[in-house]
Amino acid sequence: MIFQSIPKELDELLRVLAFWDHILVGLGKTMWLYAWALLIGFFLGLLLALSRQYGGRIISRIATGYVEIIRGTPLLAQLFLFYFLPFSINSFLDDRGLPFIPIGRWSFYVSTTMFGRTMTMVLLDHLTLIGILTLGLNSAAYQAEYLRGAVMSVSTGQLEAAQSLGMSRRRGILHVVLPQALRRVIPSWSNEAAYLPKYTVLVFYIGVTEIFAQAHYIISETFLTLTVYIVVAVIFLILISLISKVLDVIYKRMAIPGL
């Protein structure tokens, strides 16, 4: 009689979780990419939204063009573009005997040891920078549309009232329109906040070692494909549930009394 102390599934799960240091570094990297992309996307998105709404003919068209191009092309294509662009520029510079861009020769990382395992996470190198920038530039286009919708939803009378007090348009937008728009945008904006962590996995294709790259490594070591992906899926589920909950709390806290 074969005696099994633990079920097969649990055993597989434990074998995968034995790589917790890899999972942790991967998750950290994913969060790092997410945070920067969201932040860059927010500020650039805000600029785009305001340009579209208040920018006058030329500036608003430029902003619209940007949004449409980004939203109309695949993120993966954008990543590859930014990935190959420096190499193309370098070969162009090289042909003319000019000094070229140093690619892949630098990196900032953090390293820590926990329970006897040393974990190293690259904060910034050539690939991470391309990943963050592309994700940020991409997210900006989507965030711009959420923000523009919120800015448009603030009645024109609000800005007129601000101007009537003697505020410049710029100040009126800053002190009157934006405080209201940013409160209103949270529910729709949470879409982007919840999508973006999942989009970050695409940077795996240009070689950034985020959570999917770590998953591939664990699979190559254990051949437990399904288990690894289930673990990754559960991690994303928890992460995104947390993000939704946090935004929900912020929305309720920031709500204007009586509205």
Partner: protein, 263 residues
């Protein structure tokens, strides 16, 4: 008393093909209250928006205390801080408490400190009997209360004149009184006002002159007594009769027997 605060000279304004104002001229002396009335679409609101340059006129001149607002070098933001406006739909800043609605202009435009602005704003709220509601948000206030805060917001800037754009027409009938009371009070305190309204009781009480506007031109102007006793044009008579039917309070005032409609 006879110092001219506002001078409007031959103002024209059109939106695309629609001519809204066709050569409006009038003057307003210090401490004067002028009531502008007329049917909807006659250009009343546009005229007010032209005066504070939210929609600059196409043609004509507007002088505020002698300064030509149409001159290219004029700083419109600075000018607007001297012209208060009270809106039909209040337009209180929805994200700010009553007190902050009143103090924001003092802080951001006049550069008062937070504390100075607060003291002054509370005083203004007291004047419109809203001091006890200072910490409430607009959405927590009734229409009449919101409009009183709107008046306090305009007063706080100590403007040369205040424009009222149908300040009571978005209010429930029961709430109109409290707003009109405040307006009467500040009018009697010597505030220079241009009031677009159909509140004839208010006009009669404080207006030095009434202007009837229709289709972008001044059809008739005169004292309240002139309008209530012997209006000249048929258009004005018809309009006043409609107002009378609406409010049902001036039966004795208008005894126009003939029922011919005027288009």
């Amino acid at each position: 008393m006879d110092k001219t605060i506002l001078k409007v000279v031959d103002v024209w304004k059109s939106y695309d093909d629609l001519e809204v104002l066709k050569g409006i001229s009038f003057e307003l002396a210090e401490k004067e209250v002028k009531v502008i009335f007329g049917p909807s679409g006659s250009g009343k609101s546009t005229l007010l928006r032209c005066i504070n340059m939210l929609t600059p006129p196409d043609k004509g001149e507007i002088y505020l205390s002698g300064q030509n607002l149409m001159a290219p070098e004029v700083n419109l933001n600075a000018i607007r801080s001297k012209i208060g406006i009270v809106f039909q739909h209040f337009n209180l800043f929805a994200h700010l408490k009553a007190i902050d609605n009143v103090s924001i202009g003092l802080r951001r435009v006049k550069g008062l400190t937070k504390e100075e602005a607060r003291v002054k704003a509370l005083d203004m709220l007291d004047q419109v009997k809203m001091k006890n509601w200072a910490e409430h948000y607009p959405a927590q206030l009734s229409g009449g209360q919101q409009q009183r805060v709107g008046i306090a917001r305009a007063l706080a800037m100590e403007p040369n004149l205040i424009l009222f754009d149908e300040p009571t027409s978005a209010l429930d009938p029961e709430l109109i009184g409290e707003v009109l009371q405040i307006m009467l009070k500040i009018a009697r305190a010597g505030t220079t006002m241009v009031v677009v309204t159909h509140e004839m009781g208010f006009a009669r009480a404080v207006a030095s002159e009434m202007i009837f506007l229709d289709q972008g031109v001044i059809v008739e102007r005169g004292t309240p007594n002139h309008f209530f006793q012997s209006p000249k044009s048929e258009r004005v008579k018809y309009f006043l009769r409609q107002i009378d039917i609406l409010y049902g309070s001036h039966e004795a005032l208008l005894k126009e027997p003939n029922e011919e409609e005027i288009k």
